[in-house]
Symmetry: C2
Amino acid sequence: MLAHGYAGEVTSDLSKPTRVERRKARTRQALIEAGQRILAERGTSDVSIQDITDEADVGFGSFYNHFSTKSELFEEAVGDTLEAHGRMLDQLTMGIDDPAEVFSTSVRLTAMLASTQPEIARVFVASGMSFLVSDRGLAPQALRDIERGIGSGRFTVHNPYVALAAAAGCLLSFLQISLDKPQILDGDAVDELAERLLRMFGMAPRSARAVAHRPLPTVGLPIVPSAVTQHSRR
Amino acid sequence: MLAHGYAGEVTSDLSKPTRVERRKARTRQALIEAGQRILAERGTSDVSIQDITDEADVGFGSFYNHFSTKSELFEEAVGDTLEAHGRMLDQLTMGIDDPAEVFSTSVRLTAMLASTQPEIARVFVASGMSFLVSDRGLAPQALRDIERGIGSGRFTVHNPYVALAAAAGCLLSFLQISLDKPQILDGDAVDELAERLLRMFGMAPRSARAVAHRPLPTVGLPIVPSAVTQHSRR
DNA sequence: ATTATCTATAGATCTATAGATAATGC
DNA sequence: ATTATCTATAGATCTATAGATAATGC
């Protein structure tokens, strides 16, 4: 299962969603997740709506209750994945002050997706550069981080959009290599990518190296004292 | 019309191709060029074989004399474009000694495609990262240039494949921005991209700047006195 | 009673091929 | 006589929708 955030539908009133609404949201979510799995496994070509509803285990006609075309569904599937990842990055970098480190951390966590969550990485690769022009998900956040880096003087790029394009392109092709030919990458490749991007953005080699190798924030759930941990039940 | 190099078919004997063979090659080439135009104009989705043969002005059934599936044709259309561009880069950088400058020149000439030959740039963008893993066209040449740069000590990257991925990714997303939102790029963007890639590859800021701004080789056809050029027959 | 889901299907493609036609070779 | 191209079409999808069924609300 990919991103499993609740696809809460926008209801005009403030009352709790009814059971019918919840069921509708579940069907919609099943379709989106099916689209994500299909994207990850075989891309968008030669996929019929029937394939999608089969994968979602949903009646064929129900598709049209939620989407009017296949590409509409796939856009949603990609956007949903991007947004979920973006939220994760924002949470994990929240406590970091240095804009260069925020950026570098986001890059490293994203580049690691090929090993940690290959389905998500495959969705990214399948979606290609389309998200660059999209205003949903990662692009606005990355732009924000880059502009902060420029503002603080750590980055010396002239055009934040070009920097964004460079970072996105590097990440995408890194993910592609990482998924297709992982054997040509060594253990340090992710950090080196970040380091070189920082250099590209104008940081001195030494600072770039230092920032790109700082410890990463913990990815797991925060340990809440007195809470039942995941390991206690089996 | 896109790349118009003669798609000389491999004939087992050494005799001159017959008229039948030339006609067959023309039909094939018409199909490939139609594929390139379609790739550039609307991508590969929702394209029927009929669309392609119509665009090529060729009978529907003839498609199957040359290709057995649509994706086979599109792969050929992309590969053909990549190879043509690769040949052009090789010719134009032939006289350059400094490996860093060879690489930088190739990057700049490719990044300029969005303005100079937008149809070709659109084919690149439409094909996405697929060519990264392909052994056809640009990838082997770029790898060769990068390895020369490493050998000569101008580049300090550890993994040439990662460098290739970075360069390819940066170029692709640059082309995408350049095609979709040219207004956010200024006149110096192409050279700046090259400069930053050189920095990324480990060159000192000053050298990177100098190399990325050297004069480019002339793009036009060289004037060969008294020689019959390839283009003289049609 | 209302609304979403499901099943079945008509009509619209789209693919692959058979057979006719046209171009060239000998 | 040979070979590629072209036209026409059978059969295989695939989409969009109508109508039946099931779930929930009141």
